[in-house]
Symmetry: C2
Subunit: 413 residues, 2 copies
């Protein structure tokens, strides 16, 4: 089945806001085997709403709208869709009752405008909203299904899961979309695609999408099937073949972020880590502590932005900085060793580089970064030449540092 999504709200036509409800809805609809074939964003304007709905009615068997069901004068979805469909609105005392009780329970005054939220399209079922005042609506008419949902994401999601999904599932004949998410890092997106394209091409029934990302390229696998066994078998087989091909560049076949994979490896080994950062300015520590429970393996970090701090807090010899420069392989290694000793952790990470835009020289240009990972025996240090702006250099430096730790843990196991 093909669906169209209408996102309603004048703010969605400004430079500042974009519709994101449709991403969530698309995933849920895909899971039911429903394909989203068009998305449109429309302002809270009667003529726009009316003509947009009319133009879609003849083209899509399922139309889902979000937004414009609030109590204010701006909210015109009900009236406009009624006009487009040539239907009247009827007052539903039960909805009015629910809204009234909601306000009473919160001891808030109810605006007379809320009365309009009790108006429902002739012939439509209204859908209870347990998180807000605006109920949704579900209308089957002349072979077309129209679903109207409120705009606030938690209200939209609640109504969809509770009242819309079950109906659509019963109509979808049991087929749904099964997915896998693999993530890889350590090679460019184009190289990744070159390596795995010959593999996934042999699975035409699985849709493979590669999305480049600094925190790990995502390989999305999706297939429509009537039974989970068939889908699992094919997805599992393709995942394994991709994993074999990518080797250590692949860090998960079950969707976790790199931080979560590291957490698993560190906890399993009872290992701890600390980080000494210069150009990344705390980003590595921040990522390592994004997850709850990070205190079991993250001991702490030092952001040593100036040379005195590198010497005082991390014990990097001033003479070494003077001789090799703060951005050097030797200093990165001493930072890693120093922070490891300071925090008494299993591993220490050191990152020093030139994030730019200023500070580069011919010898040491912007984008030059050294990353080192040390344990009690030795330190592995890499020299990076990263393209792009300050944010890009910082983000890639942090990613490569975390990935070096992962590879170190892999090889130690």
């Amino acid at each position: 089945m093909r669906a169209a999504i209408i996102a309603i709200g004048s703010e969605l036509l400004t430079p500042h806001r974009t519709d994101t409800n449709s991403l969530w809805l698309t995933e849920r609809l895909n899971d039911l085997g429903i394909h989203v074939a068009l998305k449109v964003a429309v302002p809270d304007d009667r003529e726009s709403l009316c003509s947009t709905l009319k133009s879609l009615l003849s083209r899509f068997p399922l139309i889902i709208s979000t937004g414009g069901l609030g109590p204010t004068e701006d909210d015109l979805t009900r009236e406009s869709f009624a006009e487009a469909l040539g239907l009247s609105l009827r007052f539903v005392p039960e909805i009015h009752e629910i809204i009234t009780r909601r306000f009473e329970a919160r001891q808030l005054p109810m605006s007379v405008n809320n009365r309009k939220q009790a108006m429902v399209l002739e012939g439509a079922r209204w859908l209870r909203n347990s998180a807000g005042t605006a109920p949704g609506m579900y209308l089957d008419r002349s072979g077309i299904t129209l679903v109207m949902l409120p705009g606030p994401p938690h209200e939209m999601r609640g109504i969809f899961i509770e009242s819309v999904e079950p109906v659509l599932r019963s109509r979808s004949g049991g087929s749904r979309i099964y997915r896998r998410l693999l993530r890889a890092t350590g090679l460019p997106e184009s190289a990744l695609d070159d390596q795995i394209a010959p593999i996934y091409a042999a699975y035409p029934e699985i849709e493979t999408t590669i999305l480049a990302s600094v925190t790990g390229h995502e390989i999305h696998l999706a297939t429509v099937a009537a039974e989970s066994e068939t889908a699992d078998e094919r997805l599992g087989e393709l995942s394994r073949r991709i994993a074999d091909r990518l080797g250590s560049n692949l860090f998960t076949t079950s969707g976790e972020r790199l931080e979560a994979v590291l957490m698993g490896m560190l906890v399993q080994r009872g290992a701890t880590v600390s980080a000494a950062e210069s150009c990344t300015g705390g980003l590595v520590s921040k990522r390592l502590t994004d997850l709850a429970g990070s205190s079991t393996y993250f001991r702490g970090g030092v952001v040593a932005y100036d040379n005195a701090a590198k010497a005082r807090l991390l014990g990097v010899p001033g003479a070494l900085i003077a001789e090799r420069g703060a951005v050097s392989s030797e200093v990165a290694e001493q930072m890693a060793r120093g922070v490891r000793a300071k925090f008494e952790s299993t591993f220490g990470m050191g990152i020093t580089g030139i994030a730019g835009p200023g500070g580069g020289t011919e010898d040491k240009p912007v984008g030059l970064v050294y990353v080192s990972v040390a344990d009690e025996r030795d330190a592995v240090t890499r020299r990076l030449s990263l393209p792009g702006d300050r944010q890009h250099v910082r983000a890639w430096s942090a990613q490569i540092a975390l990935d070096m730790l992962r590879r170190r843990l892999l090889s130690a196991s």
Copy 2:
């Protein structure tokens, strides 16, 4: 003038990608006094493209499309729009010549498919693409202007600025949109709106939009005017009145981020700062180093996740931690004082709290955070009770810490 934007690409109908080109385009069009009245995302599919364009032709005098102009079989915009308009495509040798030279200069083989990029709609002007192979197109026909741009953002932007904006500007009669961006922090969005709504209501010609954000609520002011003097005067007057009302909660009337405002204040005073973080895990240091030039005022930071590190690196007495707990006003203050001494900075910041989801107790629940800012004389410490999940608690803690430093600098001047 009202415009519609068509974003073309099958990836835009998946759960993973959304159109963002239209946000940039909307801002540029608004600047020309053109209002975006509808946005639609369509897959690379001939029937969808054709019927979507047809449905918009009668409704909008300006239609801008992005995407689907590449050389591959997926790229169907040219053929589909030609069909919708009942126009033929003509081969333009000059474009073919340019594309051929582009491939030669890069010593890459040119695919026969690239020939189709030299096909232009009958009656359309083609628009040079200095960043890629796909030229844009500009067609005036029966009172409707159709502009076709490629999808890659830098190509789309280049062609728009170089070839589309000048034409649209000459047609817009000189009126354009003038903007101001103010930012405020330290009060909830609803309180902000309550305070300034009576003020901006007196300026009906200025559109005021408030967007809540953890890094500072944005107050967007926009007005259409024929002359910059008139616009500047009214925008300046409203900005000043909002600034007077919000007092120290407003941190800029010229759009800078909080980090940039802090940079200005610190540099002007020749002051430096360092940060000791527990629950924020490096986020404060990361934000302070987001901007180039931060090494002049940011001395460094310590992420002291465990108690031993708080004692060893920051000199927080172990007895104090044992007596008051790691999450306490006293420990936050000692962290601020300790990091200040360690880095010999003018100001030291200390943040300790419970980001959750675990780790809370009845006495010290998730969301309890202490933030302290110390200088050579004294320390100011705040106790926060923050709602929301781990990310939310961390982001708000960092924001309030930076804002406390700003207020400290304000009161010291």
